[in-house]
Symmetry: C4
Subunit: 242 residues, 4 copies
């Protein structure tokens, strides 16, 4: 399975890219649906994205049970991934992150995050906010059960991105390349929107502009992916490893 091996190396690289670009820090994770078995997905064992290696990648079913029960440390918030993969067959990668620039939009009562520059169109016109208080006040804010995961996936619905109140966001993509691109641009749009809103009334992208753009297509040879690989130093390491 040479393709799977390359895909897993790119999943490791995605971890490093997200860490280097400041989207994830100590916490956060990115998953990839198994390219040959859509009822399974890959996710690192419970370590920080910056430190992930190929040996840390584990396989889970869509109920988030490990395929090999080798006693490895696991992210407790795996249900975010499993539930979205169940509900959304079009999604092949999910990122959960606490990007600092995005969190204010998860707690603001009267302001919402909206794409305002063309490259960020892929974040979508409507970004739902999921609040754990609505149904799960008793068990806390972390998404640790499939019931919580399903509720979040339902709130996400057909969107690319959902915010988690007082917590962070989930970002989805047709591929890990798409999901990484959307996660970086979500952060950039949040940062720019926060500054732009100081200036009074501003112009956002309209529905037509979002639909027409949607962002450039992403893949292992796309411009942005190669740029992020180079920045986090994985471009060179990949060359040596292949």
């Amino acid at each position: 399975m040479p393709d799977l091996a390359a895909a897993l190396r790119d999943l490791v690289a995605a971890n490093h890219i997200l860490a280097h670009e400041g989207i994830v820090h100590a916490y956060g994770h990115i998953s990839m649906r198994h390219p040959e078995r859509p009822d399974r997905f890959f996710l690192a064992a419970g370590c920080s994205p910056e430190t992930v290696t190929l040996d840390d990648i584990r396989e889970y079913d869509l109920e988030c049970k490990p395929v090999l029960a080798d006693g490895h440390t696991m992210y407790v918030e795996r249900p975010i991934h499993g539930a979205i993969f169940q509900r959304r067959p079009d999604v092949n990668s999910v990122i959960h992150n606490h990007a600092h620039e995005v969190i204010p939009y998860s707690v603001a009562k009267t302001v919402r995050l909206r794409p305002l520059f063309i490259t960020a169109a892929a974040i979508g016109a409507e970004i739902p906010v999921w609040d754990s208080r609505d149904k799960f006040r008793d068990v806390g804010m972390l998404v640790t059960t499939m019931a919580q995961g399903h509720d979040l996936a339902q709130r996400l619905d057909r969107a690319s991105v959902a915010l988690l109140r007082g917590h962070g966001s989930v970002v989805t993509g047709k591929s890990i390349y798409d999901a990484v691109h959307t996660a970086v641009l979500l952060r950039d749009n949040a940062k720019i929107q926060t500054e732009a809103m100081r200036f009074g009334e501003i112009t956002y992208l309209d529905e037509g502009e979002i639909a027409k753009s949607g962002g450039p297509p992403q893949g292992p040879n796309s411009r942005a992916w190669k740029y992020w690989l180079a920045r986090c130093g994985d471009a060179r390491r990949r060359g040596e490893g292949r």
Copy 2:
């Protein structure tokens, strides 16, 4: 053509400088008019500025057709460069970028970007904003046709800089050294103005101050260029290569 070879190496360096200073990221590009054939210009093939090497530089005519049709990946927004080179014989370098600090000024309805500190005088007293919605709503926001390029060039008119609504900016210069200097100081002025405007009424440079300053002359041996080269590591690499 030893001068041309040196100029092309400096065009590569300009790509690296703009990336290192955070003016361009995955996207953005810088062109240089051919020093001996004013009806042509040089631009990297479709890769991120940070990863550009001498092998990536391509030659185009002012209609943005490649001189050698070798099937290379191309920036779709080449018309920004061709159209400005056609209209402005005084311009020998054009930068298109999405610097985060500048974008808020492209979407604000009541605030405009103006030089407020002496080093930024070269951005000019009046910075026009081009909006793709005015004439090109049907085809989207990217500048992919010569018709869009000409419309943008007309909006730019005699200015050094124009903003593209919800997109970024174009920066022009008599040389790549000028264009890089103006692009960095445009970003710096935007960042500083955003903070200064919090303080209520502020003093901007007046027309006389802008005219008298205009910024220090720029060239391959100017202080700022050598500083930026050193910062992005190209000073050493250049030394090894020559």
Copy 3:
């Protein structure tokens, strides 16, 4: 005492982590209660955290007198540590820092710092502010006497964190791992809250959410510690040294 040796190496690493994460700069310090003698604590001699080595660690009693009077340079604000260790037997590590993002909350007359995202729950629901002016106007703002230290410890009371007006903060923990985690998240919460407050009314964590979360347990093998070690380069150095 192999455990003590490992603990001291981790205290050195804590200095480097806090410097690398921008919590301390030229000034600031972190102490660790002696794991076998609760009436003593360890603290670096008077150097910046980034430059601390194992040779710089010194032992003090809870009156902040050095156990070995070898004439080393000492932090003048040692009483912060001694006084808190006296009053709070549950505390085994104290950090004093001037993190820039937190200082505004120490001087604001009408705004208070409150946890608004889950990972920052450990900073606690109530963060007291200690003002040297109240009792010590004559001797200045630094905490250089045990009387000042005791007054600050009393203001801290049972909280995890206290702010010092016009100065910085103190952060406590059951372990150095806890204290470092809380100090980083305190800074992150301050940065995010400052942005979020621009958006009008916002939702903070409530008492129940703070109590339920409290943050993940921290130790030498916890995810965040290993991430911070890797980032500041100590992970590799530790490997070589062991």
Copy 4:
């Protein structure tokens, strides 16, 4: 003159420190009064502080004429240094910089920069603003003549720091160690004050607090200097060179 040689190496290090800490960028300069000839001072030839080496240091008289007329490139704003050294025998180092965080305070009509945290006390209670428009509108904003320098020095008067409207600041010190410390803390105070002012009414240091603190004494072995040396990599280089 071993002391002079060490002092000059520290002047080179001061250039690197100011660049690494983001106080100076392509432009800006730091001078040191000749320790044995108070009617002379040292300043780099016209290069960016980050790139300064010992070979770039030149000697000037207090009228800013070079002692050796070797045709080297010179900073045009030397009169800032010469005029302040003439008026202020207590000053042995002058820094001119365009730190981004400080410039807003130079153009604000109703807000002034004031120390609000203890480490920044050395910037002083009153920070005058010099405006080139008042007397030198005809010749522009740069301080290129001794008449401009004297006018600026008069506006500075007995203060540690003065702002230049739409331009930057001058920072003085009893030594290069003092001047560097004050310049970094001036920047930090500006950054923190800008955030704190969002929170409505805030508490600044009062006159007594400023007088009592004044900041820790600075020298080649002080904590902050060694920290900044380590950060910019000069600590190691110095070790090799001595």
